[in-house]
Symmetry: C2
Subunit: 249 residues, 2 copies
């Protein structure tokens, strides 16, 4: 946002706007709302980079864990119902802020996820990073045009599955951040990593809201999770994921 | 948000906070950013209701129309590629603000949409209205738990299709706003209307980003659209929808 925008809107000199921004900057930083960056020069201006402090992130995750640790969420086969959490705009905003904080200083060009429940996570993270998001699908839909298709082994079931992404959705050499709601065996995330390769793009990182504690070799080695969820015998127990060491280290 | 929150945070008297809010209120209203409502009484406080003015909404729709009216978007069968628009957080925010403006004074409890491409629209509208959103699906996924299923006739193809929604996602008597990205025959929207009935909920309204101009009796009579899109013979022509008469009347 160039300074002239504010100068015109508020009918003030650029120097007074600049002073006001300094005050805003200090306030945002002190409250952990975000970073207000001033880019100097004729084409310069300001850029707001939202972030979250460790203490607030801990509170967010603690609230998530309390909401998740309910046996009424248990579903047959060791699955967990969390559509209500992923349909709550306030919760999504907080999750988006946490992942955006991790990649604040990295050059992310696009956020990638897989339909359906990953979409709200991707949208929220993309909103805070101010970059587009792209949706990989299990089916090929006519409204996507030509697609690139990838086969992958579903980690939890060792079935071969297919995923597809519209050819026009990603430019080569894009820096891609993968996010999803839940990781079990990691097969789906692994499939998205192959997809990033197929587009000659670069993987920047992987973030999941919840990872399952179910045993089994996991295809994905490096990722950030907010929660670890143990769902067995009609019981759901949730604990903090590895986000502290990954983000606030 | 109760006034005591601000009073504590900024270490000020409630009366000074109240004065500051009056200034904010006037600024927001003058700029068309939104409405700051003060709720009196001990449990009172403030509530921010974002809206958009007619002039800005017109600009948003004009930009959308310019982006849509490109023949490179044409897909076989008279479909239109718009995944890039629906993956752009800034565009989604503007679309969300427009639909939120329409229902500013109505009691909406939830926003409903169908996977996959309706999800970003629903999330953005729900974010501005500060209510949850629920996602109807074409498939039944294990992570949704028990579902309610509805059969409907796909308007454009006269095929019988099925959609499902998790039983726990909507409370009876909820006021539901349906949104989607694209309406052709209206069969999918019609299916979601049956779904609202099945949950003993109330339909508040229907909003779509784009409606097709393709002929054929449409099942849905009352809806708001931002654009009308004509896609035939490798050509995509886009015009304003009925939003002016529906929202800014």
């Amino acid at each position: 946002m160039p300074l002239t925008f504010f100068a015109e809107r508020y009918d003030s000199a650029k120097s007074s706007i600049s002073e006001d921004l300094t005050i805003l900057k200090r306030t945002f930083q002190a409250r952990g709302t975000g970073l207000l960056e001033t880019i100097p020069g004729a084409a310069g201006g300001t850029r707001f980079l939202p972030y979250i402090l460790k203490e607030e992130a801990n509170q967010v995750v603690e609230t998530l864990i309390n909401q998740m640790s309910s046996n009424t969420r248990y579903l047959p086969g060791g699955y967990v119902y969390m559509s209500d959490l992923l349909g709550n705009p306030a919760t999504l905003r907080q999750i988006g802020r946490i992942f955006a904080t991790q990649y604040l200083n990295q050059d992310v060009d696009a956020v990638m996820t897989i339909a359906t429940k990953g979409v709200p996570i991707a949208q929220s993270v993309a909103d805070f990073l101010n970059v587009p998001f792209v949706i990989v699908r299990h089916d090929t839909e006519i409204t996507e045009g030509s697609t690139v298709n990838v086969n992958y082994v579903s980690g939890s079931s060792t079935r071969i599955e297919k995923m597809s992404l519209s050819k026009r959705s990603l430019k080569p050499d894009s820096n891609v951040l993968i996010v999803d709601d839940y990781m079990r065996g990691g097969g789906t995330i692994g499939g998205m990593m192959s997809m990033v390769d197929e587009f000659d793009a670069n993987l920047i990182g992987v973030g999941v809201v919840a990872e399952s504690t179910a045993p089994g070799g996991r295809a994905v080695k490096d990722y950030t999770s907010l929660m670890r969820v143990d769902a067995e015998n009609d019981t759901v127990i949730s604990k903090p994921g590895n986000y502290l060491e990954k983000i606030f280290n």
